[in-house]
Symmetry: D2
Subunit: 378 residues, 4 copies
């Protein structure tokens, strides 16, 4: 198990610590023939790069990616793609303090219990920087998915109490290019200017109070063919749930109407089928595009709850490694909210999940094997 790999066919293995020499990932199983260059990946990494607004850490990290293998003459070769981002701007301050106690809301204590000791510099492996490897891998997956007509709309639905007023259905009714532009037009990646403004005001207050905020990220996947997902344990929604929950600060995941459907009734919650343009379609999408764990062809819609940044400057009680009750305040350059930078991480994990299951699905019918290997069906 080991735990640093994700996917079966399209498999990403990440490595690296916050203050080690670098962060990276190995993408194994990428089909040969996907046009790929570093700029394709950098675009994704830049969306999670810090220092882009006053609402993200002031750390300066260029996070420039280098492709070390697996690409030849501008195309993937089918062999592992090794991606590396060298770490920079690791302040040489004394980490001895962090080493000596357990920060609330962080993995310090649970890592020490598991491994006996930990790389305490900047959170080590449990740092948010670990997601660089995922985003780099996710960018490759997204490139391949784009060639299959599959697109993502991912944005902040809520930050603290500020929630966007539009539903996924509202956004799907617009031109995707316009929605993407609006998302990118504010530093919080919210497709609603009013909510974005309220969120910024709330975040400013949090920062003044040495406090932090959480929020909700929403993702819409369009262009999904029907039939993706394996019926029992590798359901599309189950694999998405794991993928999204494997992101550090995520505390909740729901698909379609999610928790709201628990309070609904069968009559309201069932999505009727209807013929539309000669195609079987759903008239509503309470299910979020998944039936029995398998995509129905409707857009996939899911949400992730992100907890408030645990690193806050306000004083907190905790215990020292030597077992004493103490009070600390965490200084340093921390994001007052993780949500905006996590948007692309959510999108990356979704891309990895979907592509992996689409590859799996190619073996679902014997007639597909016969067609692939040029054997007449009988």
């Amino acid at each position: 198990m080991a735990g640093s790999s994700f996917g079966t066919h399209f498999k990403v293995t990440t490595w690296g610590e916050s203050h080690g020499k670098g962060i990276g990932s190995v993408v194994d199983g990428c089909p040969a023939g996907v046009p790929l260059c570093e700029a394709d990946i950098q675009t994704f990494l830049d969306r999670r790069k810090p220092g882009q607004s006053k609402f993200s850490t002031a750390r300066k990290e260029s996070d420039a990616v280098e492709i070390l293998s697996g690409v030849f003459e501008g195309k993937t070769t089918g062999t592992p793609i090794s991606l590396i981002v060298r770490n920079e701007d690791q302040r040489s301050r004394d980490y001895g303090e962090i080493a000596s106690y357990y920060r609330p809301g962080h993995a310090d204590y649970s890592f020490d219990e598991k491994y006996g000791f930990r790389d305490y510099r900047g959170g080590g492996r449990s740092s948010g920087r670990e997601t660089i490897g995922r985003v780099a891998g996710g960018a490759v997956a997204a490139k391949a998915l784009d060639m299959l007509g599959i697109s993502f709309l991912t944005y902040a639905r809520a930050i603290g109490p500020a929630t966007i007023s539009c539903s996924p259905g509202d956004l799907l009714a617009k031109d995707p290019a316009d929605v993407r532009e609006q998302i990118m037009s504010n530093p919080l990646y919210m497709p609603d200017d009013v909510a974005a403004e309220r969120a910024q005001k709330f975040l400013t207050e949090c920062m003044e109070q040495k406090n932090s905020a959480g929020g909700v990220i929403e993702c819409i996947i369009t262009g999904m063919p029907a039939g993706i997902g394996e019926p029992v344990f590798d359901k599309l929604d189950a694999n998405l749930a794991k993928a999204i929950f494997s992101i550090g600060a995520v505390k909740g995941f729901e698909i379609g109407d999610g928790f709201a459907s628990a309070a609904s009734t069968g009559l309201c919650n069932n999505d009727s089928f209807e013929m539309r343009g000669g195609k079987v379609s759903v008239s509503t999408n309470h299910a979020g595009g998944v039936l029995g764990g398998v995509s129905s062809g409707a857009p996939i819609i899911f949400r992730a709850a992100v907890k408030p940044t645990p690193s806050i400057a306000a004083p907190q009680k905790t215990v020292s490694k030597s077992g004493k009750d103490i009070e600390i305040s965490i200084h340093g350059r921390h994001d007052p909210v993780i949500v905006p930078r996590a948007v692309v991480v959510v999108e990356s994990m979704a891309a990895l999940t979907v592509l992996d299951l689409m590859m799996e699905n190619m073996g679902a019918r014997m007639e597909s094997l016969q067609a692939f290997y040029h054997r007449p069906a009988r």
Copy 2:
């Protein structure tokens, strides 16, 4: 991938359709020396058996389990444990009708798209009966976990609008035996008599209106050691999310405060550490027992949103296999709510997840390998 196996060390592979010859699972990787007999498993299966109240289907299925392998002289041998439940009471009515259209909220359409055809009898592989294999496997895991001091409290938190008034903390403050007794005292497995009564009233109304209800299942795991879960993709909460989301009707999953934490702040949401009885403890448990994907030693608390039963007798619009818009009403013996019978399924999946990660964790430190293989640490 294939999709019918769960777990790496303690691995369950399920098989079977609603109206085939039977349902079962193979449990591979169970440690040798766990006392096990059919009654241990039957107790779990009986909790999901239909026909126990007017709120579950009137189908009569004894669901009697047979152990076919892996147990010798009353103990597991370390080799695969094959478990089988023969199907009974499959009414020989004409299934032709179901075969000819796509039931809303069911996997009929997505399965047809995936495989080209489907075993339509009673939902085939996408039937809730598939969970029998999970529960049988989960019962074995729970037996082993009990030997490690780990227990589960699983119950319905909400059914439709009826929600229990006690928090996990309230229940943890009571004698677990009393809580379990209260849960078992009503057919809805709610640890709150007032809520249970309201829920029953609501369900009766639903049934009168040929409608159905959903709800929320909550699970508390106590006795968890710290250090369980792998830091990146195989986080304890990520694997739980997948496990629970792989259950048919689940549409949401959250751990600790879940979606509520998204609206909280760092100061409120962080759980302070404190020394208690010489042990590092958390003063609150907003995190639900997991930090950085690894257990902290606090109780694990999570919730699953379960959608309303999609099979309802009220008329619904849908399309036929031949592509015509039609209206149907689904007759037969269906549960007006899945939640009570799904409680033990949730517990089983949680048990499988936790035991698997506890086995994985045994290799986390070199000193453990040295102790196991009787080599002096150096």
Copy 3:
């Protein structure tokens, strides 16, 4: 890991002990639409059934297979196929003796060391009966491979000192139906009547001396497309090596010229390419059809060395469970040679390996994904 599953896409999980209630396997990931009935599988099982000649154990086991799931209206549905063979003819003699000592050449001691105890009845899980689950699964794989134009010729190359005089090339030059008929015409499955006669004479001597024999099994796979196998760890020959070595009595595996190639030179051992009928072909096949772990389109040729049956009636020294040096002689009904009955086991494991890698290979090129999902290549 757990160890009772084989394959990634087409995955077989076996279970069962020699003297438990039965033996079986679950085949997960079989493509939907393969015509399948019990007779397809029984044909394979009958080839390993005991009691067919004086050179196999006199035990009477009908080994009748039952399909429990995964087949509907005569075709596989894409869901797990559960296969079971109930055990019969388990003599109720006292196994206490076997329980009290370690048989040389058997897994008694190593199992006790691993698990602390063992199901000693007839070898338990380490019995040759475990292969029933593999053969049942292999029969399903072979059915699918036949639909892809892939066939197997598997036979005994040598039993003790008696070796067939024809090379794989000689056999490939004949009509496959004739070769198959010749193989089936003698109880040792040798495609050479002279060698078969010599082998029978040798076996008769062995039996008189309460001794046993080993041999070599050879397998030729024809109709293989080029491109099957993954370049690094999941090479076609590496996966075959594991598959074949996982059969109990196998002590050696070689592909193409195998160990002979180690004493050859580059000039002799390299297979030149040449155009034949407009197709790239090899002029010789020292490599056995695999280059860099990937099939070249030439027939796959491999051999397995099978050790002599360890259960012999002649007196042997060993130790008792209580740690005393003792002398034993093993009575009961044992095969004087395992080779003939292992022929179909080798073929089954090869079929499982090849089909799994053929499914994996479908995702090797992006243009294949685009064709599958009906997206124009760009």
Copy 4:
């Protein structure tokens, strides 16, 4: 599957091409607390480094390894260890020639068939340089195994017709330090000076004839506890077979007496048990230390057949990419024999296999889980 990862608990993922930016691997699942520095790994890499004698390619590659993650304060942290070797000395000569035809004995043709195109520079991913990632990972595994008392003796048993005269038993009777010194004393890693001299003479002839040689590598693993290996598909010998066969030029694998046992009889081939120093031991070791796929505590002994280097300067027939019969001669700097440099690759793959199964074995008994988690056995 994807194919570039090996192992379940201790998992190595390799990446890199011969003429790309570098070669490397990610080691995931290494227990925390193993002292590790670059010199530990460099020692292994230096054993496969070219240019150390006239019998290996004249290419100059320092193959200096850099640890990028997973080590803190001189010890492994339990998180992924990323290892990289930058490529050097890639001659900027025209590879256009190799691109235009298929070299006999190489993966050129099978890769083209699989992926549609290939990185032809120096063999790309199918180059022997790919093994750098394995050796780097194997060095880490060997370090951990050394802490568990497990050692390796790996050497060339034969090169062309020159075979060493000592048996594994002879070598085991000597002081391991002396054997290791003798192995390292000649450039062919043979523990027999006479055979080494004959081999060098044979190789000199081969080089004069623009030809190449193969050979046999033998490996002895000492200090193995009993009980390692999983009974059915993940047998110790099956996993070793796959591990060794995944090395490019390997064409045969045998354990213990291997193919010779096929011609032996039960009486000769069975290893009697006997009490020795109060311990159950085997009086002979025809089995090579494995019974029923599980280690018996005796030394593990296996051999690999390595084919002659396919790149030879003598003229050969082949076909061009455009489908014409042509004649080529391969120039460049190629090893006349791969065996000596492959010795450490075999040892590395064996180390990876053994450690992975030793970690798996820790969960074989329930009493071990209880001891680990400090629960009283009942």
